[in-house]
Symmetry: D2
Subunit: 377 residues, 4 copies
């Protein structure tokens, strides 16, 4: 693991996700840019001191030299955005598979270069767009793909949060500090942090690609340096239109990711607050309530479900699904076997590049007087 | 009553709304442009045949000649949009108070002229933006007005419907026919029919005014002549921003009007499907669930509530609240008394003019390559 | 109308319900045992002074003497329980049809006698068990009757309220006073007031009859004279079992009537707080959400629906459905025609007798050391 | 681990729960009464073959002989009910701390003897009543304990499931087979499997103890040998009353555990399907919605929460909370330190004995003609 030392939120989440299905063992780490902190974190996590490294460079270098059956296989990188590209690139080039937190890089340029590195090295790559790990999000994608809803016409995707309603970065909140700092976060604040999740969710569920967008991007809280609120009209490659809303200043909201998709014959709705429910709506018959664990759900949903219907699975399980599917693919690949389609259903390089392109375009559109801009990569 | 003959949806709703509180008696009507139909409707409604008229002109003319204590006092006009202006204008000029279905007129020009007529005649005027009649919508406005949420920053308002997902106007559906016909409906289809409701709701609840907008307007169903889908970014006169979504092609949705408003300290959420609930959210304490009939609700909510908490009031009661408040104001005015603030809280000429301006601007923006257009009247 | 003078809750509800569909006109009344109050109420309601009577006896006597086309046809009785039997009996014997508030009488003996009078006079009779007027409750009954759920096995019905959590009857609350007073209310407090609603709902939806019960009846608030809380195990005539819960001391609850019914193949759930939704659950497929106004609903639901799907109908509309169906039956009967099955679907004498028997048995069981008592009439 | 070999549901859940917080390492096991199966399970789980044992007796014997720093510390027992007592007793007597699945034993006698053993050996003991591990259930207990609701008066607790609606035990379903088999399950079927959860939840949240009960116990599905449906009236030691409902034949229900508690001033409601929400209701102010992760929640809730508000935590996290708290207490004890009150808040021997007493009494009451029976141990 690179990053994720004491006090980091997402590092702990990654560790739980990795452990949950017993598919990974944490064997080494470079947990902080501060070697003392890295050491302390490694100790806390029960690692052998000799496998807690001062830098990721040292980690890769030393681990490469270990015998194959002892060496780390997958590098999980959970640093702030500006420290994504270099460690990920070097990890791939050092022969490791990589799991990387989103957004993929600091800039689209880096993303495109990382894509090239991944293609060249042939190493596997997973980007942790958590929401696509929920069984009912997977089901949503399958419902759309089945054609039951007819041609998709409209997409509403939203991600309202309230935690940046005040000038959090003025205080001790480390999360708030780096996420609102252009030097660490990149061109976008909220649009990078949560807008990319919404964008990814829309493309994942519909199987469509955005081709044009028009954005309204705002900095609401005084003194903030990056966007904390925004919305975008979307146009998709099949002619459908959409609205994306992402805000961090919706005071009183937690993390209420939601997507609605409408086709010619019906629609669907999924919301993280009731994550185990997928509503499938019809023009002329009652709404159907699909539930995690339902015997009628697709193989994609069932493969990502651990407990019988009625035992709520949550955010950590969704996260763990990414890790587990990635592990299944890594293991299959090592064994020279073809992974199942259900295993391969995790976000990767392509999703990362599109996410970075979303950031570039949505921020550019926010500054433009022109209504529509083309979404090109 | 003008319009609302047999088979008309909204005419029947108006009659129930008028009757519900026993504040009105239906005494005369010109129910259809077809005199036979008008007569038949009048008979069905139990009116004296001599007070069922062939035209609204005849109605006004004859009623004016009746003794004051027999003559109709309030004219309710429930015709399609292109037959709003003339009958409303003539009614006001004939000395009657007027209740008119929304959108106010066929064009903004007509609206401005009607405003002038209303000002000149001094007659009272009510426009039936139903959603502002719900007790919990009134409560929402009071919560914002109280300042508890702090300065308002963000507004999301949406009105997804699915009933025009197919080419309904190709068949017998009279509702679908006129609402999608530019000659009867005006410049806008869905934006006029339901977009204006969403717009009115946003301005009503926040007490703010839109100053700029940027719209994406679509005709989704092949063969349709007017918009059936759209969205707009909004900017308000206090600096807040918003997103408005209104669509008639969200297959599987009924009539799911919803508004969310966020200020510096908290937010609120109301949705017609759970109309008797208002969620008030806070940055640092539990969400509060306000309920119709709650002893803690404002005088505005309580005045518009008929039953104790726990007895759901619905759409017809919300509609009836407009009628009832208008009756209270008419009666007070006739008696030379000042109406209470709670009674005056119904939509009128100003809301009608702004609604027509919304239609003009949102359609113009939909056709423009420029991002923002100023909302001016 | 008998009873329902100024300040009475349920009298006003009855009047709105009667008016809502324009099927009744209020023509006369004896609104209070106090002639002055009766007069004042009649005036407020806009009645001719000569048709506001000092007593119900006078009302019946005088109205009988009016020409048939002027005379009142239906008597609505909305007095406290101890003044149900005499006015209802005399009304029937005077040749009027009767609408009576529940529970039907003060005692089971009275109920049985009233049944005999109704049978003898042939006059129509409606008991206002409001909850059976909701379209989705009617749909629930039809779903069970269709056999789709298989044989019914389990019924949960509940009616939690909180308004009697404190010693309300110690103050000015007139509602609380008579409802907790054995001389006015009868043998039961909460079990009569709301327990009978729950009981009626269970028998109505399932089409079954209770044959045995075992009750736990409590007086929770100190000083109260009648039960304010209770529960009963039920056994039905097809072998199904059930649990009924009704309480008035569930602090913080409004009027949260709910019923769940389970058969061999599926179940259903309806709750007044989301009155326009009926959940139909299945062993092996997604839950279906039936909605008021849905094109797929039964003729019984559709007949009792006024507005398109998505326009919430509430308590007053449910109440009005009882009045409207009764009016349709009265009118058909007067015209010598057979009423439609959908019109006849309102609670009547039989339901009233069973409700009074429920009160007798549930109170008796509450006092008994024996577990089960037979429910016999 | 004792039991929980391939194909067992709850064994896998225990393993995830143990791993999730990295507080346990699975080091040895006797996974099945069939040594081959045990071996295969151990292999699958990546254990050293020499620490996969044929029997639990062998496991304890061999592990005791290992050096203290290698030896297993906590035994987790996840066998069917009839194989709880012996392995648990022997584990305690062999010097191990024990985690045991519920219900604690096959009979109350065994439970009382196990209590005696635990007292005597001083070893720690945890019984996995999962629902008490949810942060919002812990919050519920704290809300009651704070006295804010006033004296508790009424408790409704329910656990409707549908999975035994058909004669599942007639087929291959191993879960169904042992849970409906008196020789493996004990005196009760559903009352033991899920009724004990409901009972424990009621006592845990209220802090009260049941002193009397009256039950209606049924076998609904033909051919079944143990109860699959039941309900009980409860009386608590402070005078409050309650209703407990547990059924396995509510076709279409998943695992919908729910509790409602009402005091003099307010009430609360928690339901597993929306596990991260606790509704706190008040007589005279809006309902408050407490949420997992809310800054206003108690130290007990926060200690059991891993992610910020808005990231749903589910069943596995609730289960993991039991394991984690037990680990914290074991570690503290080993270190000679006093565990924090938050850590000690897991179900133990006392809860196990009361659960077994519940089974005895509820089944006895189900067979009795007498209404109330005393709940004594």
């Amino acid at each position: 693991m690179v990053g994720g030392g004491q006090g980091a939120f997402i590092g702990a989440v990654h560790r739980i996700a990795a452990q949950l299905d017993n598919a990974y063992e944490l064997v080494c780490g470079a947990f902080s840019s501060n070697p003392e902190k890295s050491k302390a974190s490694g100790e806390m996590l029960g690692l052998s001191p000799e496998r807690v490294y001062a830098t990721y460079q040292e980690l890769y270098e030393k681990e490469k030299q270990l015998p194959e059956d002892q060496r780390v296989q997958v590098i999980s990188i959970v640093t702030p955005n500006h420290v994504h590209f270099e460690p990920a690139k070097l990890a791939l080039e050092s022969g490791f598979h990589v799991i990387l937190d989103k957004p993929m890089t600091y800039s689209l340029e880096e993303a495109l270069e990382l894509q090239e590195v991944a293609d060249r090295t042939g190493k596997l790559f997973c980007l942790t767009h958590t929401y696509t790990g929920y069984p009912m999000v997977k089901e949503a994608r399958q419902v759309v793909a089945s054609g039951k809803l007819g041609k998709i016409r409209k997409v509403y995707v939203e991600y309202p949060q309230g935690w940046l309603s005040t000038f959090e970065e003025g205080g001790e909140n480390k999360q708030a500090s780096w996420r609102t700092n252009p030097e660490q976060s990149g061109k976008a604040g909220g649009m990078g942090d949560i807008g990319t999740h919404a964008f990814n969710l829309a493309e994942y569920v519909t199987g469509l690609e955005v081709t044009q967008l028009c954005a309204d991007i705002n900095i609401v809280v005084e003194g903030r340096k990056l966007d904390d609120d925004g919305a975008a009209f979307l146009r998709f490659n099949n002619g459908a239109s959409g609205v994306l809303m992402a805000t961090q200043i919706a005071a009183g909201e937690e993390n209420n990711v939601k997507i609605r998709v409408y086709g010619e014959k019906g629609g669907l709705e999924w919301q993280q607050e009731i994550a185990n429910t997928l509503q499938v709506k019809w023009l002329d018959k009652p709404t159907e309530v699909y539930r995690t664990g339902g015997g009628y759900t697709s193989s994609f949903a069932q493969h990502n479900t651990r407990t019988p219907a009625g035992h709520p699975e949550g955010y950590l399980e969704a996260f763990a699904n990414l890790y587990r599917n990635f592990a299944l693919c890594v293991t299959a690949t090592l064994a020279g076997e073809a992974p199942e389609p259900e295993w391969q259903d995790y976000p990767g390089i392509k999703e990362g590049v599109r996410g970075m392109a979303f950031i570039e375009h949505v921020i550019a559109s926010g500054k433009s007087d022109k209504k529509w801009i083309d979404f090109t990569i």
